[in-house]
Structure formats: C-alpha cells, structure tokens
C-alpha cells in the first residue's frame, strides 16, 4: 500500500510542480498520437467511405481486412515499420528510425484500420437511400456525401476516439520504432515501462496518471462535440 500511496503523492507533486521532463514527455505523447490520429482519419475516412459505398471487386475482402486490422497487435506494426526504416531496409535512406516521425507512421498504421472499419459501419447504418434522397432535393454528389457524413457524425466521432485511444495507449510500436530515447522519442507509455522496470514506481504511476488524464481530456472534448448538438434540441 505504501508504494502505491507514495507513488500517488509523488505523481501529484511531479504534476503540480511542473516537472520539465514530465511535461516534455507529455507534449511529445500528445503530438505523436494526435498527429497519428489525424493521419489515420485522413487515410481512413475516404477508404472507409469507399468500402462502405463503393461497388468494386474485393470490397468485402478489404472490409474484412480492416475489421481484422482493428485487432492488429502494435508489436507487429512496429516490427514492420522498423524493418522498413532499418538502415539497410527499403526506406533506410530516410534516416527516420528512432524519430517521432517513425512513431507517427507506426501509430497511423495501427489506427487506420480502426478508422476504416468504424467509418464503414457508421456510414452503412444510415439509410441506403439517403444520398439519393438528398440528390433528389438538389444536392450535388459532393454535397450529398457531406450530408451523409453529417448524418453519421456521432459514430464518426466515436471512430476518432477509438483511433486516438488505440495509439495513445500502445507501447509496443512506440518502443520499437522510437527507441524510447530520453528527450527525443520517450512518450508516456514507454517512460512508464522504463520507470517500472527500474523500480521507480512513483514516477511510473505519475506517467500513468498523466496518460489517463490526457485520454480523458481528449475524449471529453470529442464527446462534448458529439453530444453537444444532441442536447441542444
């Protein structure tokens, strides 16, 4: 019990006093995970729409692949990205391994299938005639698509939350492609793992708390956006 209580006390002290290392790690975590989520949304939204609405061969296989990808082990993605970026690997010349950029790439790889699968579900649960009806009221193809996204905005925001949750909490890929270099690629999860392995439980708990607070804050914002218009009526 002492360890836990001490840990909590130390954690609060670290956060309140504004320990510089902790804040730097937190800022990097936010930067990497939010960027990865944004990239995953940019890739996953059109892909999810295509899978949900398009009619092309392989559509169902693609959807099944995305559904499988929702459970993709981060370690597997980390391994692939590491091999790709390895000095002698196909993209080794870019010198990206053990940089935040590599972590964004890996985390985007983890989150994109999540976005694709959830966007497809979100869009498919809207009436299949929705776009025809919107076009039958004068909407252009693009406008009817935007109306469809507006109609599905609650599950679409849930997809964004799921994507962010998947990347901010993963440790395997961040460790492998980032290397947990202090001041460069150390994020909250890898820092917590390191601190724990060193027996610095207070520090580890502090990182864990910050991680929880971040996850909660981001999801709170998204939830307020999601539910705001619901309550407005």
């Amino acid at each position: 019990m002492d360890v836990l209580l001490d840990g909590l006390g130390e954690a609060v002290r670290l956060l309140v006093t504004g320990d510089q290392d902790t804040w730097a790690i937190t800022a990097l975590t936010l930067r990497v995970s939010l960027t990865a989520t944004a990239v995953a949304l940019l890739l996953g939204l059109p892909l999810g729409l295509a899978v949900a609405l398009g009619r092309f061969p392989g559509r169902r296989v693609l959807l099944a692949a995305a559904n499988t990808g929702m459970g993709l082990p981060p370690v597997v993605v980390g391994l692939f990205v590491t091999v790709l970026l390895w000095r002698s690997g196909p993209l080794g010349g870019l010198g990206l391994l053990y940089t935040p950029t590599a972590m964004v790439v890996a985390q985007a790889g983890i989150a994109t299938p999540v976005v694709v699968a959830l966007v497809a579900v979100a869009v498919q649960q809207v009436d299949p005639e929705f776009r025809v009806q919107m076009q039958g009221l004068g909407a252009s193809r693009l406008r009817s698509l935007l109306a469809l996204l507006g109609e599905a905005r609650l599950p679409l925001l849930a997809a964004a939350m799921a994507a962010f949750g998947a990347v901010v909490s993963e440790v395997g890929a961040a460790q492998m492609v980032g290397g947990n270099l202090a001041g460069e690629t150390r994020v909250l999860t890898t820092a917590a793992v390191l601190a724990t392995s060193r027996g610095q439980f207070a520090l580890a708990i502090a990182f864990g708390l910050v991680l929880l607070v971040i996850a909660f804050a981001v999801n709170l914002v998204l939830t307020l956006v999601q539910q705001g218009r619901v309550d407005a009526r």
Partner: protein, 340 residues
C-alpha cells in the same frame, strides 16, 4: 419548345435485366402524370431514371423544356419524395428547409420559405420538434413539404401515401392536391392505387413489366383496360371469356358492376348474364361480396342489395351491368380473382 419534363425511349437495365423498356412520356409544366402499375412493374425505377437519380444506368433521352439535360441541371430542377420518408438529424423546420439550403438559400430565408409548406401539410405546430420523434404519417408529410418548399420545376412523388392509415391518407390526398394546384410543376406520381391517380393526376400511364401499356387522360385510361394485366390493375378483376358470355371478345368487369339476379327478374335486353354456383357470401357492411364459381373460373360480385334468399351451393345467375371488351386478348389461365 414545350416547358416540362419528357423522356424518349427510356430504358433501364440492371444486372442484364431490363426493368424499364423504351418508355416515352411527356409531362407538361403544371400537370401531373400518374404512373400506375402493380408492385414490381418498374415504377420507382422509371421515376428515378426520369429524375436522373440513383446509380442505375439508363439509355434513351430525358428532356427538360424540350432539350437534353445534364445531371447537375436536373438536380437543380427536381424535388423528389421517395417511398420512405428519409429525414436528416435536426428539427422538422430544418428538414423542411434542407432542399432550399442545398440550392444555396441562406438559413433564415430557407426557413421562412419552408414554414408555409409545413402549414399547408398540417404540421406547422411540429416545426421545432426533433424530426426523429415524428410518427410515420407526420414524417411523410414533412417529406412532401420539404419537396414542395423547393418550388422546383419538376416534382417526383414515389408512392407518397404508402404506409399511412386511411384517415391520414384521405387528408393528405386533399392537402397534396391543393398544393399541386398551387405549385405549377411538372409532376410525376408513382402509385399502384387508381384512386390516387384519379384524385391527383390529369394524365395517367399504365406500366406493367417495365412497359408502357396505355397512356392518356386519367379518366379515359382508368376506364379503358387494354388487356388482362391492365384490367386487373384498374379494378376490372372479373375477366369473362367468350365461352362464358357468348360475346366475341373477352369482357372485363368490376365486382361492383356484377350482381345476383333473383330467379324471376328480367335482366333487360343488353345485360350480359353468367351462370355459376354460389360458393361464398360475405357481408362487408356497405355491400355483400359474393364469390361465384363459373365454368371458366371464379367471379366476384360486390352487391349492394343482394337477394335475401341465397343459399350456398345453389345455381345462380349473375348480371354484368357494365363491362369493357378486351379485343384480341387470349385469356390467361383461370386464376383466383381478388378484390382490389
């Protein structure tokens, strides 16, 4: 140049099957055309093809004001009511304004122009409600108000009364007729109900199996079945072959024009009579439905004033007081006729 909507040789193929076959129609501005057909006749497919809506590819021409039309041009000209009311999240008023919003009208002006149509369709008191809380009838009214509010040159209505109870339907029919008269659009109404066609449309086209079977002024078309299919569609559900009547052509008759003759009555000179065996008698309140088996199949009478003494299994004579000839139509195999 005629103003209005038209199509020439319009065909729609889906997965190699022709759902609509070389249909040619004209709908002048200010008039309503009813496309009447049984379920699965291709009515909705035709409606969408005419409005250049939906994913199906069509061949032939769609003309607006006498000239060919592109999809973007058609979208600006058209407002559609689909079979199911598909509403957006938001208030009733916002939904009613959405067609105008798509056309670039600003929010406030769109709302102001849409509100009178909510009133015209009797749902103005629901304007600030969440559209998802509406009943089926209210949602259908909103769907119609939303389309009318656009003030479009072309109005496409796909079974706008489906799924409504009789009272709502009657009210809505009157409301819609009044709205159409004010509107001045070229309107196409798809329906399987001839009473809707009669109430709303100056012209009627009969569509069976994707082909146009008849086309003309509604009153004329509804009373002139061309063949067995259109006869059934128009309520002439009794088909009497020459062998039964002794007439040269097959005759088509409505059940309400068939009645039982009492034994002694003289049917009069020109009335066709048919003999058969009374199988069933059901009192429907306003009239009695009598099912008579004839040598060429069942015959249904809707008799407002049936003789008191009818016994099931007895031989009876049915007087067919009004009928239409279906020249040159081979009668299909006897089937159970149904009351429409």
């Amino acid at each position: 140049m005629t103003s209005g909507l038209a199509c020439r040789d319009l065909s729609v193929h889906v997965a190699g099957r022709a759902l609509v076959h070389a249909v040619t129609l004209d709908v002048p501005a200010g008039r309503t055309l009813a496309v009447l057909g049984p379920n699965g006749a291709g009515k909705s497919t035709l409606l969408r093809a005419v409005g250049l809506l939906g994913p199906h590819r069509s061949t032939g021409e769609v003309l607006l004001d006498g000239g060919p039309v592109t999809r973007p041009q058609m979208r600006r000209a058209v407002a559609a009511v689909l079979q199911r009311p598909i509403l957006r999240r938001g208030t009733v008023a916002a939904n009613a304004a959405s067609g105008l919003r798509f056309r670039g009208v600003d929010r406030r002006a769109a709302r102001e122009r849409a509100l009178p149509w909510l009133d015209a369709l009797g749902i103005a008191h629901l304007a600030d409600r969440d559209a998802r809380t509406l009943s089926g009838g209210e949602a259908q009214r909103l769907s119609i108000a939303r389309a009318l509010a656009v003030g479009s040159r072309v109005l496409l209505l796909d079974e706008p009364f489906s799924g409504l109870d009789a009272a709502t339907r009657g009210d809505l029919l009157a409301d819609l007729r009044a709205a159409l008269d004010r509107h001045g659009a070229a309107t196409v109404l798809v329906t399987h109900d001839r009473h809707e066609a009669l109430a709303l449309a100056q012209d009627t086209a009969l569509l069976v199996d994707g082909r146009l079977r008849h086309h003309g002024p509604t009153r004329f078309v509804l009373e002139e079945p061309r063949d067995a299919d259109t006869a059934r569609l128009l309520g002439f559900t009794n088909l009497l072959p020459p062998s039964l009547t002794g007439r040269p052509d097959t005759l088509a008759a409505r059940p309400e024009h068939c009645r039982l003759l009492s034994a002694l009555a003289d049917p009069g000179g020109d009335v066709v009579t048919v003999e058969g065996v009374l199988r069933r008698s059901v009192d429907l309140g306003a009239a009695t439905r009598l099912d008579v088996d004839t040598p060429s199949g069942p015959l249904v009478c809707l008799d407002r004033d049936p003789p008191d003494t009818v016994t099931l299994g007895a031989r009876v004579v049915v007087a067919v007081e009004q009928h239409r000839s279906l020249p040159g139509t081979p009668l299909p195999l006897p089937s159970r006729t149904t009351l429409s």
